[in-house]
Amino acid sequence: MNEALLIAGMFIVTFSVRYVLFAVAGRVHFPAWLSTGLGFVPPAVLTAIIMPAVLMPQGQLWVSPTNPWLLASLIAVITAFIRKDLLTTIVVGMLAFSLFRFGFGL
């Protein structure tokens, strides 16, 4: 992997997204469907990243009560529903993961 190309490419797409509206400053308006659609981007992308990391942490599908990634994620989801605070969710999730992985040796 050519890292210079990788970083240049990432910079171009990231900066364009952040700058395009500032550059034209209000002379364009999104159609309603587009701004609604954009609202779904973060949860869809993040979910698509989380699922394989948690359900296939070692490459194969691993749905079992002995999968520490899965167990800790469920605890994190419950925590996030109870307390809407991101930092609490992270701390509780990481503690749960360490407990299952290293405490119980799962």
Binding site: M1, F15, A25, V41, T47, A48, I50
Partner: protein
Amino acid sequence: MGGAKATLPLIVGAIPFGIIFGTLAEPSGLSVIGALAMSIIVFAGASQFIVLGLLAAGAALPIIIATTFVVNLRHILYAANLVPKVRHLPQRWRILMAFGLTDETFAAVSSRYLQQDDIRNAHWFYLGSFCAMYGNWVLCTAIGVALGELFPDMTQWGLDFAMSVTFIGMVVPYLKNKPMWACVIVAAAMAIATAGMPHKLGLLLAALSGIAVGLSFQMMLARQSKQDNKNNKDL
């Protein structure tokens, strides 16, 4: 300075991610220079994490760039919100502000704009927030890289789970209506179903399916309520 102060609580939250990004860089196949350069030049936390995952999985360059684009698309919503506040500024200020547009700075400046109507000096507040976030992100990446060198087995500590748990904490607050639930459930199912696809294409496909289903659902509901209103009026 006020901007830096207002961003401080958010910066505290960003410290572990900067460090974890630094430690995970080398095991994922990104060099020390590459990791630092990415934080300095790209400056986009979530997508940098995701790129590490893609690199580790051996994804191709075009897939990585396309994924970065989709992951960072949310910033266009922030920019749309800020346009009325930057319209009076010269283009070089807008370029600087666009580069520094992150989740954290957007959150900090939005509350400043809500509290004060006078926006004449707001770009200095923005600059303060941006500099604090930027300095912190680059510094934490460097610390992470150094820690990774010192403790090569740190990757075995399960720090990669920090990313999953962070994203879980970011997704859950979105789950407030049926279209969002539909979007997330479809994206989740598709992510598992397409996990075996070459070049990690599954991630993009799963995300796009989720967006399409959520959007269709939402538009269907909107059309229905419009019709209900009309029927009520006719009665």
